[in-house]
Amino acid sequence: MADAPKTPPAKPQAGGRAASKKELPDHFKPYKHVWVFVEQERGQVHPVSWELLGEGRKLADKLDVDLAAVVLGPEGAETQHVVAEAFNYGADLAYLVADPLLRDYRNEPYTKAMTDLVNTYQPEILLLGATTLGRDLAGSVATTLKTGLTADSTELDVDDDKSLAATRPTFGGSLLCTIYTLNYRPQMATVRPRVMPMPERVERPVGKVITHPLGLVEDDIVTKVLDFLPARDAATSNLAYADVVVAGGMGLGSPENFQLVKQLATTLGAEYGCSRPLVQKGWVPSDRQIGQTGKTIRPKLYIAAGISGAIQHRVGVEGSDLIVAINTDKNAPIFDFAHVGLVADAIKLLPALTEAFRRRLSPHNRDKLAS
């Protein structure tokens, strides 16, 4: 305490930490390789894991190191299949802890498995999905290892001195910041689903698999899973992965008018979503919210009706291939990032658009056009 500074440290935001020099302690120098945690729940891999393998591949290539998948799960075919898929999505090798105690996600055995693996095999970068599972696990693992963790990253890169640069939104999305973990290993980050593109899946034989024991018995684990209730409306969870998304905002004015969004979505076989205030008003369930505190989407087509395009909304839709905005105000911020803009009253346009799409897409009509 004697050497504690007499004046408060510099502003925590920009400059403060930037001054720190990189002096990686010797015991961290052997830490090599990029790891991606492949998350599965009940045999279903969360697609963010493949997105992360795609991103991890780029980082590993830049660093000229191996890319490894970390698979934790029950023994048996289900988990073996996850390992095989990890190779198809680009992993060079896999670390596997297979134990019946890992059937359902529980923090205690998962944290033990992951920290044991890290301490034994020493990765320099460890990436996880910013899902409920990934965030729960990442927080415990980083604290156990006393290392840095950048949550909800939207961009990852390796800079000139080979450090991981993780960029994430801050202050509710109004700003971005780039964060480093210079003096500790591994450098950890979670990444939101759909922020990174899905890599191509290429059939490959299973490569090297390193198995590791869990070293726990059920009695060691305090928390028990009494029940699991699968999400009732299975379709809702597909918003993040839909090819076409139609969304409405406060410009629609009422929950009744929001039906116009749903009707267009149905016609297009699309998913529907909304901006945050509609969830807060109780017009639309919360799993339909798009944006910083909702879902990130990457559809081929995104139609936003009556949405202003606040930064918190923008960060959730920027990965869309084609953004179409319908807004009465030609100065609305959404036109700063939309590809196609239409200054129009969405309440009038949406029904007309639904009708016009219906005509255009009906098989009957298409046959006529072709002949």
Binding site: R17, G139, L149, G172, S174, T223, K300, V340
Partner: protein, 281 residues
């Protein structure tokens, strides 16, 4: 039963503006609020206390002005408020924050009785990391229950808690042992407001104020910037896209056809995809 709730006073980020030239946050005049998720944690704690008896202690780490937030929760009826404030904490990342908070919770335990439950909100709206709950749990060697949408039951004799945890795939019903850390999701119960009498009492109530030393923090190297493994190198505004939206202008009153033409001109493959879908009906 003793329940400790961690809350944070945050800038109301809906009101934050970024300086167009310097790309810095314009904090002047930005009102502060209690992190919305933390209010659900406070509510849950008060409900449990009202059912099972005991006390609720609310803890915040922040500048002296964070006392305002503590007075507000005192007006909801919490029993005790502790403000952990010290310039050594400036610049703390999540790892340093959990060191300070966990040490203070230990001290609260020694001073006012060991907590059975430590509550946090799911995440804050300024940091958004969702790491502080898990970090505190790890440091205090508590089981952690995050993304909790509902507390089904607490059995104080058996020291058991049953909760519902939301995940992307569904809801897990989990049973764990007290003491435990619970990170609350939003929207479970209606929030109480507190009566005028409670507000007046809260204004007069004592707020326990601890420095780092008071809270029993021994290792200053683990606090603030020095104790933070993550380093913020750069803060910047999202770049504006170079090309602006192409506007559709037509004579039509409702230019739906023109819009569809434009969509399919830019995404020709989409027309086939959508038609295939449509013919499936």
């Amino acid at each position: 039963m003793h329940i400790v709730v961690c809350i944070k006073q945050v800038p109301d980020s809906a009101q934050i503006r970024v300086h167009p030239v310097t790309n810095t946050i314009m904090r002047q005049g930005v009102p502060t609020i209690i992190n919305p998720y933390d209010l659900f944690a406070v509510e849950e704690a008060l409900r449990l206390r009202d059912t099972h008896g005991g006390e609720v202690t609310v803890l915040t780490m922040g500048p002296p002005s964070a006392e305002d937030s503590l007075r507000r929760v005192l007006s909801f009826g919490v029993d005790r408020a502790v403000l952990l404030t010290d310039r050594f904490f400036a610049g703390s990342d999540t790892l340093a924050t959990t060191y300070a908070l966990a040490t203070a919770i230990k001290k609260i335990g020694e001073t006012f009785g060991a907590p059975d439950i430590v509550f946090t909100g799911k995440q804050t709206i300024d940091g958004d990391t969702a790491q502080v709950g898990p970090g505190i749990a790890k440091r205090l060697d508590l089981r952690q229950l995050t993304y909790i949408s509902k507390i089904d039951s607490v059995d104080t004799d058996a020291k058991e808690i049953v909760v519902e945890r939301r995940s992307e795939a569904g809801v897990q019903v989990l049973k764990s042992q007290l003491p435990v850390l619970v990170a609350m999701l939003e929207g479970t119960n209606d929030l109480r407001r507190g009566t005028l009498e409670e507000a007046i009492a809260a204004a007069r109530a004592e707020v326990v104020r601890w420095s780092a030393a008071d809270a029993g923090i021994e290792d200053m190297q683990k606090c603030g910037l020095r104790g933070s493994p993550t380093i913020v190198k750069k803060v910047f505004a999202p770049s504006a896209r170079s090309e602006k939206a192409a506007f559709i202008e037509t004579e039509d009153q409702v230019p739906a056809e023109a819009l569809i033409d434009e969509i399919f001109k830019r995404q020709p493959a989409l027309e086939d995809d959508l038609s295939a879908l449509a013919s499936g009906y």
